[in-house]
């Protein structure tokens, strides 16, 4: 068809990218988005992943005995102990709020002093530690086999998904991924539509169409904006992963890392699937003001996907993560906190590939047929029938 089909679309893509970087709103919008999302991750780490520290005053107890209490508290808790000479000093510290509680021992009498209440993890750790030590001591005194005594009394806890402790944070990441998908594809989708209609409105499209094929123009536009959108997503997500790594939040990194990597693949597919339709929506408009209404169905699809990703659960979520385009938004979010079989991911990806091929063909068809119609807005039904 054309003289240099490969170079033509590249030149169009290059112009598209350069034009975006020439716009202050684009550059600052991007900087703002990066700061907000990275800042959000730092805040998430700061507020979400700190160990709980208990300050425990001890009176008449050796601090070495307290290592057992810390063991009983388990992961996620730190015990700071401070020795006091008498009970009243310790009680004063509790009243002042310097201590969470004070443990007082006199002979075999143990008292845990709190202000209005003692946090139950601390209380039960102290209880079981003291009880364990007492039972061991008594057993030795009575010459009882402690193991025989304890036989059948232990309850073991098996966690099926031990990494999922941080499920709250992972939900938050899922929510964030859906939001980034929604926001970035909305921004660049509208950008494609506006870029198309701006060429119609300024009539430059007639000169372009006389110079290259309208397909080359379409591919160039899609390629340019996909590169920008994907670049933005990679910076946002890659930066997020780097932040987790830097902050040493390895658990969260392991939990959501793969989801974030999948996210980029799903985003690329989901964005490309809609890209030609955004162009088509631009071609249906004749003035920039019309774009808001011609792109409405696409905005609804994105919003729907975002809502599903953020709020759906159970079977709705399972189904939504297989319905193409929606699934591109829903699946990566789900991966961040849910156990998803590999075949589900691959099926979802494959369905998105099929949808992308079909939707791009549909979009290209509408685009070609309506690009030269510059006098008025065109409805979707008419658009598909047009010759």
């Amino acid at each position: 068809m054309s003289t240099q089909p490969t170079t033509a679309w590249r030149i169009v893509a290059e112009r598209e990218i350069r034009a975006r970087f020439g716009e202050k709103t684009f550059v600052w919008g991007f900087v703002a988005m990066v700061l907000v999302s990275w800042g959000g991750l730092v805040a998430l780490d700061y507020f979400g992943d700190r160990d709980t520290t208990y300050d425990l005053g001890i009176v008449g107890v050796s601090s070495s005995a307290m290592s057992d209490v810390e063991k009983q508290l388990g992961e996620g808790y730190v015990l700071e102990t401070k020795e006091y000479d008498d009970r009243s000093d310790a009680e004063a510290a509790v009243t002042d709020g310097d201590l969470d509680a004070a443990l007082v021992s006199a002979d075999d009498d143990w008292t845990l002093v709190g202000n209005s209440a003692v946090d139950s993890p601390l209380e039960s750790a102290v209880r079981s530690s003291v009880a364990g030590a007492a039972v061991a001591r008594n057993a030795a005194a009575q010459d009882v086999d402690l193991e025989a005594l304890n036989a059948g009394a232990d309850v073991r806890v098996d966690l099926l998904d031990p990494e999922a402790e941080d499920v709250g944070q992972r939900r938050f990441v899922a929510f964030g991924l859906s939001f980034i998908f929604y926001l970035v594809s909305m921004i660049f989708g509208m950008q494609i539509a506006q870029s198309v209609v701006a060429e119609k409105e300024s009539r430059v499209v007639e000169i372009l169409a006389a110079a290259i094929s309208t397909r080359a123009l379409l591919w160039g536009k899609i390629a340019g904006n996909t590169v920008l959108a994907l670049g933005q997503v990679v910076i946002l997500v890659g930066g997020g992963l780097a932040i987790f790594a830097l902050l040493g939040n390895d658990a969260l990194l392991a939990g959501v890392g793969p989801a974030m990597a999948w996210f980029i693949a799903f985003f690329a597919l989901g964005f490309i699937a809609l890209a030609a339709l955004w162009s088509a929506a631009g071609a249906l408009a004749s003035r920039v003001q019309d774009v808001a209404s011609t792109t409405m169905p696409l905005q609804m699809v994105l919003l729907g996907g975002y809502m599903l990703g953020a709020f759906a659960s159970g079977p709705t979520l399972d189904i939504a993560s297989q319905v193409p385009v929606f699934s591109a938004i829903v699946m990566p979010g789900r991966l961040a906190y849910d156990d998803v079989a590999l075949w589900e991911i691959l099926l979802s990806l494959a369905l998105n590939v099929v949808a992308a091929v079909l939707l791009v063909r549909l979009g290209a068809r509408i685009y070609d047929r309506n690009l030269m119609q510059t006098s008025r807005k065109i409805g979707f039904r008419e658009a598909i029938r047009r010759r």
Binding site: S2, G22, S202, R203, I207, A209
Partner: protein, 291 residues
Amino acid sequence: MLTVRGLSRAYGDALVVDEVSFEVRPGRLTGFVGANGAGKTTTMRMLMGVLAPSGGEVLWNGEPITTDQRRSFGYMPEERGLYPRMSLIDQLVFLARLHGLDKGSATDRARHLLRHFGLDDRRDDLLDELSLGNQQRVQIAAALIHRPTALILDEPFSGLDPLAVDSMVDLLHDEVGPDVPVLFSSHQLELVERLCDDLIILSGGRVVVAGATDELRGRGPVRYRVVVEDLSLLDTLPGAAVDSLDGDAAYVTMTSGEPADLLAHLTAHTRVSEFHRHVEPLAHVFREATR
């Protein structure tokens, strides 16, 4: 040579261009004239391939035109169009590259044209910062950027003052090769009459007149404009008859005699203050053709 053969375009039931046929010869400026809505723009868009014809064909050097050949044409659409928020140089380099020039030669060519059009010092300005006349110049430069093999210009001079038109025409002569056919549409007949070698008049989607401008003007009876002192003499003239009177002047058509004899006859009997060949302006041809 660009040949249009039986080109038609219908919008629904309305036939906007109806079996239009004409030629645009190499190295000649062909004027494309018609009232608003005559089908000029539709025809030109079909020539450029941005609009599909309902029927007919376009030939380039006798063969059906290919897409590549079309893309080597220069085109200035009726509704001007370039990127308003892009600098002149970027704009022209972009278009040149779309036409297959590499970056270096695209830049050279764009600079050359901008210099030629007196806009080189404004090359980094955005298009919409320019006056309309200058924007028009950039538009012409855009049409010339790839050294086109033919030029299709839709109302290239509309909105320009006469001086700007002349400088634009000079630029076209300098930049367009001697073998390049140029078709330009206009509704300003005097302009077309002054500039064009050939003329095509379109009316109601049909070609009503086509031919060399001189021939078209010379067509019709040989008439003379005569002003004499003694008007009674005009009642009987040897080998000629008066068509019409316009104040003191009479328009005389030669029937059988020679103009020299007529002049001798008149000077023998009265004082003659005016006697010259009257050529109808194209407006007359146009009015006759589109009546």
